[in-house]
Amino acid sequence: MSLRTRYVLFAISATGLTALLLWGLAGLPDFGRFGGSYGVTLNDVAVAQRHATNVVAAIVWDYRALDTMGEELILFASVMATSLLLREAREREADRSEDAVHGETIRAVGLALVGILVVVGLYTVAHGIVTPGGGFQGGVVLASGLIVVYLAGSYRTYRRVGPTALVDFGEGVGVGGYVGIGLAGMAFGAAFLANFLPLGTKGTLASAGTITALNVASGLAVAAAFVLLVMEFLQELMVMRLEEAEK
């Protein structure tokens, strides 16, 4: 079957699928008139039940904590698979290459940015239960703070700031800690991933029980995963540059 035949076939079936999809979407309630009862009920009871003012964080790490555990395991498996795929024979040699940025302005601005991003990342993780934020959001901001070390500094500094052993350990602790906190609840007689720690006062940092602990575990896992991912890809680039320089 030639290329043109395939494209024509796709065009026909795509029009059919689009028509079916848009007709199906027309059956939804009007935009702005949400009628589901789960969300409305959670809005009413979540603050009183969990002492957390950020209802989305309460859902992700408490009411639907099992789904978040599945997502974190996807994250873990994907990063592990990427590290396996991108193994290079000359990794150790490539890690000694520098690849530094030479502009003074970029280095200065980047240095300032690293501190700000790391603090904002930690802030977002810690305040996830009070204001918009949480483990996933703060974790990616934290990871971007470390990635800026490469973008505005050098590859060697990036490797020193995030050594493989430490980052691997951090990610394992993050994902394993999430499951461990869930199991710890069972040791106290509650269900898996139930909120068993004292709830504290609503609106402060010390509230919402296990949601805070799960936030920290998720933040650690997500930040370590992104640092590891970027490190794997950059290593590929360094090995390629090494081989080109030798030609």
């Binding site: 950020n54 996933f136 990635i147």
Partner: protein, 77 residues
């Protein structure tokens, strides 16, 4: 529906078309980063700050970096 939402939705649609139509991979990276920013604005306009936070960092820092490295490796290797 407020006009801001209509305008953002139209821009998102145009952004999606421009990402798919970009055949040169370098232009693709730029178009993808801009599309990510448009999505962040859309998420904000739909009153979801949590989603906007994660989408912002992920589509401006992580995805472009990984794409650029993949392109560089794809060209040189």
């Amino acid at each position: 529906m407020i006009p801001l939402q209509v305008v953002t939705l139209v821009l998102v649609l145009l952004g999606a078309v421009s990402v798919v139509a970009a055949r040169d991979v370098v232009r693709l990276t730029l178009a993808n980063a801009l599309y990510g920013l448009l999505l962040v604005v859309l998420f904000l306009v739909f009153q979801s700050p949590d989603v906007a936070l994660s989408a912002l960092v992920v589509s401006v820092v992580a995805l472009p970096l990984v794409l650029v490295v993949a392109i560089a490796k794809g060209r040189g290797g």
